[in-house]
């Protein structure tokens, strides 16, 4: 019974993008990253939904009639590495994949070095991902590393 209703929740979208398996506490960050407040189409957001994979509850975001470029969507990998991307057309699942951690990150992560110029001047941050396994970002400006547990999102 549960399996059927879960499938219905996902494929209720005719055309659009679904991001599933977001840790509940990261849903708002995902919404912000994708700038969904400027989208005019229907958006469904679920938070604290029961999940086998995510013990503390999962979040799900469904955006109608909207598809994202790789560079727009792969940022999610930093905020919600467990999430799944599903693209739907005519009620059919066309794409279902995990997010790939990009090689470069622009502007949505803060440099952990308090003395970095980006924390003192109106400059967009910029990082190279030097370790995808253990999530280490090297700042393009100060050359210092911001690690996974020090990551603050702007």
């Amino acid at each position: 019974m549960e399996k059927v209703s879960r499938e219905l929740k996902v494929s209720a979208l005719e055309n659009g993008t679904v991001i599933d398996h977001i840790p509940s506490n990261r849903v708002f960050q995902v919404i912000k990253l994708l700038d969904l407040s400027s989208v005019k189409d229907e958006i469904f957001v679920g938070i604290n939904l029961q999940s086998e994979k995510l013990k503390d509850g999962k979040g799900i975001v469904k955006v109608s009639n909207r598809y994202f470029e790789d560079w727009e969507i792969d940022k999610i990998s930093l905020v919600a590495p467990t999430a799944t991307l599903i693209e739907i057309k005519n009620y059919e699942v066309l794409v279902k994949r995990k997010f790939a951690i990009p090689d470069k990150i622009q502007s949505f992560v803060k440099c952990f070095n308090p003395n970095c110029i980006t924390n003192h001047q109106p400059i967009e941050t910029s990082f190279t991902v030097i370790d995808k396994e253990d999530l280490k970002l090297q700042c393009h400006y100060c050359e210092k590393i911001t690690a996974k547990n020090n990551m603050v999102f702007l």
Binding site: N115, Y141, C142, E143
Partner: protein, 302 residues
Amino acid sequence: MKNKSLVSISDFTKEEQLRILDLAESFEKQPRQKILDGYVVATLFFEPSTRTRLSFESATSRLGAKVIGFSDASSSSVIKGETLKDTILMVGGYADVIVMRHPREGAARYASEVSKVPIINAGDGANQHPSQCLLDLYSIRKTQGTLDNLNVAFVGDLKYGRTVHSLTMALSQFNTTFHLVSPEPLKLPSSVKQHIKDNNLEYHQYTDLEEVIPKVDILYMTRVQRERFSDPMEYEKVKDSCLLSKSLMAGCKPNMKILHPLPRVNEINTDVDDMPQAYYFQQAQNGVYVRQAILSSILGVM
């Protein structure tokens, strides 16, 4: 190298670095050459650094160019809240090249991306100081005749020592063996050690300076700062372990040279100064020739 900024030592390839050293050699033979007559060099020192600034200004003057700039942020528009970008764009209209020292890491990299004229990084916080690295390489090559197959010791504060990190990275391009002497809390960071290993080179660690003296061609001394220790008792315990005096110098190799980025406090005793191995003041002077080489390369006249 023409019109290319110098922010980190890695901005120049190994070949470009060696070319700077060769050029510096020709400037040492003849320091006064009016090849930059009519050019303007801006020295923007957002934090004071008398030594580096005077060195760049001397290099500039000897080449016939004029110097403009400021030596302290408080005496500039910065104090009025002007952004770094605005300052750089403004000065870029007054000068052909900007030499910049800034207290924040990344400032020079940012400046090089917004500026219309090349930027030479004279130190950005605890990050890079490429002209120091090049003058260190020049001093080593000059005194040893080569940069290959040397035994180099770094002594003192290896954890925070910006010059040590840069020079280690640069020397890893040559078949160097590293000897690292420091108190336990100030060891060379693992990322730098990894760089040595990635180049298939060796490093050895010591806590006692006397042990390395007979082994090395270059002894690079740095100051251990009290402020780096959270526990003053720890500092007291180790502060004398990295001090060099004449009595420790017995058994050193005849070609061995002592380098220090200066200013020195007590880590090199003045009784060492008259020894043939003491090279730190010539090292500082070499800075002028290396900076002449950097300026003339970037301005495209050499």
